[in-house]
């Protein structure tokens, strides 16, 4: 079976995110003053062929752990669709 595994990667909470900061400035210029913080991460979708949903999730976890996210600076979340 083929599964879509979605991996959300975000910069660690305490880390300064310069990209988010720049976008925050843009939103302020738009007049959206209610926006208090912006943090930007990545969304990675994998098509995975596996026999069960669990197996697909495991492969996604391994991909995230070994390559797609760097635990020194990022956290990730794996979901199967």
């Amino acid at each position: 079976m083929s599964f879509t595994v979605q991996i959300k990667v975000m910069p660690l909470k305490d880390l300064l995110d310069p990209q988010g900061k720049a976008v925050m400035g843009g939103l302020k210029n738009l007049g959206l003053n209610g926006v208090e913080d912006v943090r930007i991460g990545k969304n990675i979708d994998l098509r995975i062929n596996a026999s069960t949903e669990d197996e697909a999730k495991q492969i996604g976890e391994e991909a995230a752990r070994k390559l797609l996210a760097n635990p020194v600076m990022e956290i990730y979340e794996v979901t199967v669709h």
Binding site: L15, L16, D17, P18, L68, V72, M73
Partner: protein, 224 residues
Amino acid sequence: MKFGVVVFPGSNCDRDMQDALEQDLGQKVLMLWHKDKDLSMFSTDDCIVLPGGFSYGDYLRCGAIARFSPMMQSVIEFAQNGGKVLGICNGFQILCESGLLPGALLRNSHQQFACKNVFLKDARNEVYKIPVAHGEGRYFATEDILNGLEENHQILYLYCDESGHVTEAANPNGSMRNIAGICNTERNIYGLMPHPERACSSILGNVDGRKIMHQLFFAESLVS
């Protein structure tokens, strides 16, 4: 002692490094293609250099994909056997991604690409003027790792001002504790963001890079 300079798709300081080593420092250099694996012509007295640039387009994270290239598998083994490895700029990012050096290099805190001369100082308080050129050079590691680096004298160079004062204003990218370059505990793997290879020839108006290269490769022991 001879040098190997690895060429990844997107490396752009490989020839600068080759020129500096051959023309300015009179060293023997072999260029190494990222798809090859053979390092049998090198002994642990030799040095493999990972040059600056944008390996694999900086896709995903700087250095993240280069780490899995065939040549990097051999370089990791070479380093683990005690061979010298130097990573400059993107090379430093690759070393951190490979786990050969601790920490990571993040987007510059001021959100801009930094391309200018900066001042560095070593553990002996000697000051050097060396160019930097990077968008992701903000050294980051946990407090525990930073303390360990200090205790073991693994911090090779700090960003400072012209008179050697380590100040926030002299930090070109927001690196923690003004760190510009570090080494591993065994002191055979070095990573730095600034480009000494761009400051080795008098025709370029700055030869401070030669002093850095001498210190890294030819000093009796690395200053600690």
